[in-house]
């Protein structure tokens, strides 16, 4: 799955619904699907709320890539925003990243060449089909 969507709040459920479609088609266990959808929702919300603060002009984009094989799922959420700069006026509780970290098997944050951020989330995603057969 590869999506490029506007970095707006309305895109957050769009990404989640697309990802759910992919995971359900792959017959991933429902509990695992729920965790993946929560983590990816949190990562996308972080982009919308933090990545492009103070930037004027066109609505910027966020990019979501998901790859799944047998028992392993990786989701990348990428922006071209302000990178890891700390923010003293953060509007949220700051719970997004801790929640993502708790839900993922492996979490990596990288600055991209353009100065944005890439969040790489890996999950153990066992399919019902694989585990029962």
């Amino acid at each position: 799955m590869h999506l490029i969507v506007p970095s707006t709040a309305d895109s957050v459920p769009v990404v989640r619904h697309a990802l759910r479609g992919m995971l359900e088609a792959g017959q991933i266990e429902p509990a695992a699907v729920s965790d993946v959808l929560l983590a990816v929702t949190e990562a996308c919300s972080n982009v919308v709320v933090h990545a492009y603060v103070g930037r004027d002009g066109d609505v910027p984009e966020m990019e979501v890539e998901a790859e799944w094989d047998a028992d392993h799922l990786t989701v990348l959420v990428r922006d071209r925003g302000r990178g890891f700069a700390p923010r003293v006026d953060s509007p949220g509780l700051g719970l997004g990243l801790p929640v993502i970290a708790a839900l993922t098997r492996r979490l990596e944050l990288r600055e991209t060449d353009g100065g944005g951020t890439e969040v790489s989330m890996s999950f153990a995603a066992v399919s019902v089909a694989a585990s029962s057969g």
Partner: protein
């Protein structure tokens, strides 16, 4: 996929109920904030999450703000999650540790003002 629903009803002069249905995230957080603000004029606000299928930390951020405001004003905000909350609701409350900070009950009856005394006194 369920669209996020938000409604506010006043059940008595004591209690206002904010009911959420479907999936809630950053895209509906403004509507949830407005509803909690409207309901917050009552002494008790019940936030009914029993029909919620998805909830993230954006919504919990709004809920925590409303909880702090209610506390400061001597009012209550009570979350009703049902006897079997959706996986998503259970998970986000557990992961954020907010279940120990927010007032959470299974049913709307338990959230009513006279339910506190009843559960303590017998």
């Amino acid at each position: 996929v369920s669209e996020p629903g938000v409604s506010v009803t006043t059940e008595s002069n004591q209690t206002a109920v904010v009911s959420l249905t479907g999936e809630h995230d950053l895209s509906s957080s403004g509507r949830v904030r407005d509803a909690l603000e409207t309901a917050g004029r009552s002494p008790v606000t019940v936030l009914d999450l029993t029909q919620v299928e998805f909830l993230d930390s954006s919504i919990l951020g709004v809920v925590v703000s409303a909880h702090r405001e209610a506390e400061g004003a001597g009012r209550r905000l009570v979350l009703v999650v049902g006897s079997e909350p959706s996986t998503s609701v259970r998970r986000i409350l557990e992961l954020t540790g907010l279940s120990g900070i927010l007032e959470i009950t299974e049913t709307r009856d338990q959230a009513q003002p006279d339910a506190e005394g009843a559960s303590n006194g017998g």
